[in-house]
Symmetry: C2
């Protein structure tokens, strides 16, 4: 009752072997997380969302995440949450922004839902780069983005977190459509 | 890199042995989570927050959580997140509101931050009962509540989730003060 384990799908290993572990260009970082997302859809291991944490200056890949809510029986197991939690475990610190660390960037296939936005604020992440917009996610898939604030971007900026949105947005939208075309489960049923 | 484990403190075992596992009265449920919170402070195992998931009708305790952010190297390891994730693991389902389950209530020592509010919306929880208010948490401890929306309660109610706040609020405030008096770490440094 007092311990829980969360895992990414088994194919992550081979995926990472087939991709570089240092990526500098932000567009290439977004392509990487969209590839990750596409694989999660094709393998039918979760929802159409992928994320990764990179060191800002070196471009070094620190962690990845995909949505594994259904597979892991955990409504918190969004791609961004998995990537952030795995990065923190890897660095053995709850704060990726601690003084002795390089700056970290979260790159994500779709702008964060309310839960993931909150955790970005707690995680010590310094930059967030995203592809699809909340209205893409809600409009194409029907997933709910949750109780996000009106002043989404300034909530991040006020906490010293840079946000860049709509990177390769049409590709980001196409991935969401791929999920729908494959009959992917829209598991969020509160509305 | 692809698996993570999160645990509650070891004293949880003895705590649960010393308390009933069926509690009907909402005030008594809040007292239970405040006791849990106090223990987390006195044991110095985390921040001043405790939560539990109960079955609404039977009063049966399903899971508990305390804040273990620092101890577990995980900014997402808030009390509410731990309780929700552990309840979902126990029931082997990401949705505590699935048709074949009884209704579930989250009881928490302080009203949820932005992240936990988001996960409540995804979790399938039908009711949230809380003690201290966000301004108590921010005013007494200095912890940031994050990017919550202006229309906090209606965001829940619109999703069919009942929220009852300020239950034993003065006791809830006293627990936050206890943490400060014990020199507890205010680890959230984004502002």
């Amino acid at each position: 009752m007092y311990e829980l384990k969360l895992s990414l799908p088994k194919w992550i290993d081979s995926f990472l072997n087939d991709h570089p572990n240092v990526i500098h260009d932000p567009e290439k970082q977004v392509r990487f997380v969209l590839d990750l997302t596409e694989r999660n859809i094709l393998e039918k291991t979760g929802g159409p969302f992928g994320s990764a944490v990179f060191e800002v200056d070196s471009g070094k890949l620190v962690s990845v995440g995909v949505n594994v809510v259904v597979q892991q029986n955990c409504s918190a197991a969004h791609a961004e949450m998995m990537a952030l939690m795995l990065a923190q475990k890897k660095l053995s610190h709850f704060n990726l922004g601690a003084k002795h660390f390089p700056n970290h960037r979260l790159v994500t296939s779709g702008r964060m839902c309310a839960m993931c936005l909150g955790n970005v604020c707690w995680s010590g992440i310094k930059e967030v780069f995203s592809s699809a917009e909340p209205e893409d996610v809600e409009g194409i898939t029907g997933f709910d983005e949750g109780p996000t604030p009106q002043d989404y971007n300034s909530q991040l900026e006020d906490r010293g977190i840079k946000i860049v949105t709509k990177i390769l947005r049409s590709e980001g939208r196409a991935i969401l459509q791929l999920y729908v075309d494959h009959g992917g489960q829209i598991y969020n049923g509160t509305r």
